[in-house]
Amino acid sequence: MDDLRGIERAIEMQETKIAAKGVDVFYGDTHAIKDVNVEIAEKTVTAFIGPSGCGKSTFLRCLNRMNDTIDVARVSGSIMLDGEDIYDPKVDPVQLRAKVGMVFQKPNPFPKSIYDNIAYGPRIHGLASGKAELDEIVEKSLRRGAIWEEVKDRLDQPGTGLSGGQQQRLCIARAIATEPEVLLMDEPCSALDPIATAQVEELIDELRQNYSVVIVTHSMQQAARVSQKTAFFHLGDLVEFGETATIFTNPVDSRTESYITGRIG
């Protein structure tokens, strides 16, 4: 497959950014994530793949404690970000989420202007000391979100008026405007057409220069195209985790093999 060009991509060894050990997640009585151990490296794109309902989103949402907002969700185990336990009672999830940004499956711009969409995060975190600086952050973020050229003349118009692909890139720009260290993306391309998908993938590849990116995807081609590391989840278990090239050419587990050859999922 041509799509597997990720295989040839050289992988430099990077330091560990996030280390998850023995993570279990329960939704009430449902055991959604079972004893998952995973290490996410700095300046690397890590892909989570697996059939629908296997817990990819659930695990991703553990990494910025988004599961805290779900009443029935219960997380155990340890997740270290730069050696600090993010589930430590002393950690304020709000502070954590400024460091670990998130892009959701469905584009969800605020029903405000394009400018305010980007400026909101920097404003509440006090990242800009004046209007000029804020303008600068907005422009920089939109440029890095690869959407500046399309919206620069209508920054005061509603973000909700953009097309689906533009909205998703706006959301990515919004997430990087707060200067996070890790960017979590939950199926960011599932609502997009192939052209918008290609733009977002290109963007992810660029983001790798500065961030550690975790992307959930149900498309194996996409995982192969953008990621250096891949984790395969199945029914709440982390079945296999390794270099993307290895997972796609030489899977160890039979379930991984069935999935990537299209027999399950």
Binding site: Q95, F104, F110, P111, K112, Y120, G121, I124
Partner: protein, 444 residues
């Protein structure tokens, strides 16, 4: 199902309707017809209601006036002649009555009509006239001795004659008016000293006693209702919205919050008179607040309006898509920032609508106000805020109730007029709600 299977003949024509389609279309036509009939019934009911109220009530805004030249005799009003107000206030309204009588007799002479058996022509003028005259003289003592033109209200019966309520035949049997007086009224109308014009006093004057319906107005009731609405708005909106935000966004979901939820829904269904009893027991008997005061009425109506506002607010908070909350939390906003920056603005139109519906309900509420003494006959305007909140006042719907209880048929007209005023207020409030909604929704 067997009729789901493909037709046996193989091909069917699109130009011919099959049995299922025919049945479906017939069902749809029937449903549309039922719908149209239901809307029709509602519209007819509304039109009949509005027509009857307008028919009975519009005349309350027009009143018959009699214009007379009054000679303000010094011998009657200021015997000492030194224009001392203290001295002059000793002359009661009875002292002014002869002046009106004189003026009326002079007018008859001037007209040159001779009506056999005409008695007490001064009774054609409202009893309010003497008081009106006295107020004027005490305010301007220098006018004593001169002759001035005054416009007085005609009595309720004379007014009723021009509105068709009183006829020559009914006057025959009526001890308050005689056919001769009606004839004189006709003559005066012809001459121009009696005319019917728009009656602002109906809106601005306070209520009047049983035997002078022509002078009864809504002034005190409008101020009372206005004060109560202020109390309700100032208390119920912030309390209701804060409670809803807490329950919807912050409170843990457990049996206790479930219990609160059930209780709030139940409160919305509690008959309003129960709130009146509660208000009487707590605000008046226990807290010692004055009876008939808008503050007490406002507090009672606040209790009544709170559940409405809470239910509407929670519904509109629930309707805000969770993706917006996730987006805000995702960029590191705190829970409170999420709610106040993103959720609340989106819920605002719904909250506003709920609030105004609640206020409109409160404005039209009668039963609880009866219990806290707002039926009292109040002729004094309450003073300005804030003391005015503690002064006795009436309320619009209670005034309607009050007037319908009175014997004189002239009050029926006034009650209908008061209903029109009430409806106009409700209409204005709904209009404000719609305008505000538009304003907020335009900000996407």
């Amino acid at each position: 199902m067997t009729d789901m299977s493909a037709p046996s003949s193989g091909k069917t024509s699109l130009l011919r309707l099959d049995a299922r389609t025919k049945k479906r279309n017939a069902a749809e036509r029937r449903f549309r017809a039922y719908g149209a009939i239901c809307v029709g019934i509602a519209v007819v009911a509304l039109v009949v209601l509005m027509a009857s109220i307008l028919k009975n009530g519009t005349s309350a805004f027009f009143q018959t006036h009699i214009t007379l030249d009054i000679e303000l005799l010094e011998s009657k009003l200021d015997k000492t002649g030194n224009r001392d107000i203290a001295e002059m206030s000793k002359v009661s309204t009875f002292g002014y009555a002869p002046l009106i009588k004189n003026a009326m007799e002079a007018k008859i002479e001037e007209l040159g009509v001779d009506i056999e058996g005409l008695k007490k022509p001064q009774d054609m003028i409202s009893k309010e006239a003497a008081a009106q005259l006295r107020r004027f003289v005490l305010a301007n003592p220098d006018v004593v001795g001169g002759t001035y033109e005054f416009e007085f209200l005609a009595s309720g019966r004379i007014d009723g004659y021009f509105k068709g309520r009183v006829t020559m035949e009914s006057a025959e049997r009526d001890k308050n008016v005689s056919p001769q007086q009606l004839m004189l009224a006709d003559a005066m109308k012809e001459e121009g000293s009696l005319n019917t014009s728009f009656n602002w006093k109906f809106i601005t004057w306070p209520d009047a006693s049983e035997n002078r319906p022509e002078a009864a107005g809504l002034g005190v009731a409008i101020i009372g209702s206005f004060y109560m609405m202020i109390v309700v708005l100032v208390l119920a909106l912030p309390i209701g919205v804060a409670a809803s935000i807490y329950l919807e966004e912050f409170a843990p979901k457990n049996w206790f919050t479930d219990l609160i939820e059930v209780n709030i829904s139940n409160l919305a269904a509690v008959p309003s008179i129960v709130f009146g009893i509660l208000g009487l027991a707590i605000f008046i008997n226990f807290a010692g607040l004055p009876q008939s005061a808008p503050i007490v009425g406002g507090l009672v109506l606040t209790l009544m309006t709170l559940p409405t506002i809470i239910i509407a607010t929670r519904a509109s908070l629930k309707a805000v898509p969770p993706s917006i909350r996730e987006a805000a939390l995702g960029v590191g906003a705190s829970k409170m920032q999420t709610v106040f920056h993103h959720v609340l603005p989106l819920a605002a139109p719904g909250i506003l609508t709920g609030t105004i519906i609640g206020l409109a309900q409160a404005l039209g509420e009668t039963a609880p106000l009866l219990l806290i003494g707002m039926v009292a006959f109040v002729r004094e305007y309450p003073s300005g805020p804030p003391e005015g909140f503690f002064d006795p006042a009436a309320a619009l719907p209670v005034q309607v109730y009050n007037w319908t209880q009175r014997a004189d048929p002239a009050f029926v007209e006034r009650a209908s007029g008061a209903i029109i005023v009430l409806l106009v207020f409700l209409l204005v409030m709904n209009l404000v709600a719609i305008i505000l909604r538009r304003r907020f929704e335009r900000r996407w």
